[in-house]
Amino acid sequence: MTYNDDLTTRAITIRDMPTTTRKPRLRKRPPAWVSALLALLCLLMLSPFIWMMLSVTKPTDVAFSNPPVLWGYQLTFTAFVDLWQTTYFADYLVNTLVVAVVSTLIALVIGIPAAYALSRFPSYISALLLVLALVFRALPRFAVALPMYDISRALGIYDTTFALAIALVAINQPFTIWLLRNFFAEIPRELDEAAMIDGCTRIGMLRRVMIPLMGPGILTAGIFVFLFAFQEYLTALVLTDTSSKTVPVFIATQLGQTLPMLQQAGAASMLLTIPVVAIAFIAQKYLVAGLSDGAVKG
């Protein structure tokens, strides 16, 4: 297997060429059926959300009718209003955001120097790290989460946003380092040496030269860690209860609710979906770069 090296160049190509402005090298337009199939595919991929969005914006008495009511109803946002006003949804959303932001910040602060160090160290360590990252990424989550639950209860930090955030930092750290290391590896070592000759210390150099150069890479890693934390269900289920509950955990406890609240659970899912989808669209280029560059190489 030799995919690592040739992919380095490939990944750079895709990352550095914004798809919107790139001049197509292959001028031949795709046949209509390809475009049609892709359009259909997009519709299929979105269909669960379209259906859910329709369901939660119908009046309650026809929301889940069978056969479904498709037209002739009054559009309503009551489910969203009730969700905001009668549940602690705002708190769950804030918890989810705090966990995501805090774990992203910590993950980057400790991950950047570690990734830099690894990118400048002999390769057998890097290979070992790669294997370790792989193994840690593959671990059954409960093998880590259940002991974390026990330990956090013993330490009295169970059900705090901090405990969940730091747990997610650790769980996502192998991926963070791995992604960042690949971005650092693209920066020539000569640059370090030049900066060091100019009198920078290693850490000063990292701060003043490397991090500005690494902007896109750090942004990519940050977006990924943020999304992973935002998505996390299993760890949050195990480590939270009343005071640090996150939105995915909340939604899971609403599946057996009766009608008006069931519709609110759908509304909660939609409210969680919208920002993530916004991020996906805005950060599309970075997600693609992260997936193809960082991920493929490691």
């Binding site: 292959l26 593959a138 899912s269 493929v296």
Partner: protein, 290 residues
């Protein structure tokens, strides 16, 4: 770089990973040999938990189901991922919007996606897919109580969640295929199939291997989506290994932590076994590269 600098820079990260990944992992291994409850020290019972797990038909069924879903999902991901990546590789102007839409199911919490997904198939929520099947003259499908249709539902949902990832990686791989080969790839007809099979796919086999690896890892761990998609997973034999651990060691205040940990250890062994070829590949490559 000096060793001292290396460790200085690496220490904070190492500390977090050591404290929050390695220590819990050690605890899991220790628990797997104990009879133990949360919050109290356990007592050593030797291999009893492993014996219980390995003789429990429910564990066998969970392993079988998990492996079956993994195998099916990985194959579908590779085939669909490749086809879609090839198609997207040919569009230019609308590519960002298509990629953006494709990413939605990947960036969303798996559980939320599964809830939305289950509503399409559940008559109590309108069952829009069932109505379509009915319209085309099909019979009622028991998506939630019949093992095979439920298994299909789980696989379709998993594919839906992971397809964007597989497609993107393969797309990245395709971008690296030399232009002459790509020119060959866009000729329609029989020759195109040949060129895909004999030229393009062998060129990007490393990328395909990577997609396989990540997909295997992620599907083996599946848990979130089953909460919404398989309400009676255990009784129809569609329980994943992680769901089984959850139900013996956490759900409803369950306390069989020793058994749960033993299953975790067995799962780790299973995963490592499946990963061995990939790990060897990486080491070989590291040796060759530098």
């Amino acid at each position: 770089m000096k060793a001292r600098e290396f460790w200085l820079l690496f220490a904070p990260s190492l500390l977090v990973m050591g404290g929050l990944l390695v220590i819990p992992l050690v605890r899991t291994v220790q628990w797997s040999f104990e009879s133990v409850h949360y919050g109290s020290p356990g007592s050593f019972v030797g291999l009893e938990n492993f014996a219980t797990a390995l003789t429990d038909p429910r564990f066998g069924r969970a392993v079988l189901f998990t492996l079956a879903v993994t195998a099916a999902t990985v194959v579908i991901l590779l085939v669909l991922g490749y086809l879609i990546a090839t198609a997207i590789n040919r569009i230019t102007r609308s590519r960002p919007i298509v990629l953006g839409i494709m990413l939605v199911s990947y960036v969303l919490p798996n559980l939320v996606g599964a809830v939305a997904f289950s509503w399409l198939f559940d008559d109590n929520f309108g069952g829009v897919i069932n109505r379509m099947i009915e319209f085309f003259g099909g019979n009622q499908v028991l998506w939630f109580t019949d093992q095979v249709p439920n298994g299909i539902l789980v696989i379709v949902n998993t594919v839906w969640h992971m397809l964007p990832f597989a497609m993107l990686i393969i797309l990245a791989g395709l971008q690296g295929v030399p232009t002459e080969l790509r020119e060959a790839g866009i000729i329609d007809g029989a020759r195109a199939v040949q060129s895909h099979l004999h030229i393009i796919i062998p060129t990007i086999r490393g990328v395909l291997g990577f997609v396989t690896l990540i997909s295997i890892m992620d599907v083996l761990r599946m848990f979130d989506n089953l909460i919404a998609l398989s309400p009676q997973a255990a009784s129809i034999g569609n329980e994943s290994i992680m769901l089984y651990v959850y139900s013996v060691a956490f759900a409803d205040g369950a306390q069989r932590l020793g058994l749960g940990s033993a299953i975790n250890v067995l799962t780790i062994i299973l995963i490592l076994t499946l990963l061995i070829p990939f790990i060897r590949g990486i080491f070989k490559e590291a040796k060759a590269a530098r």
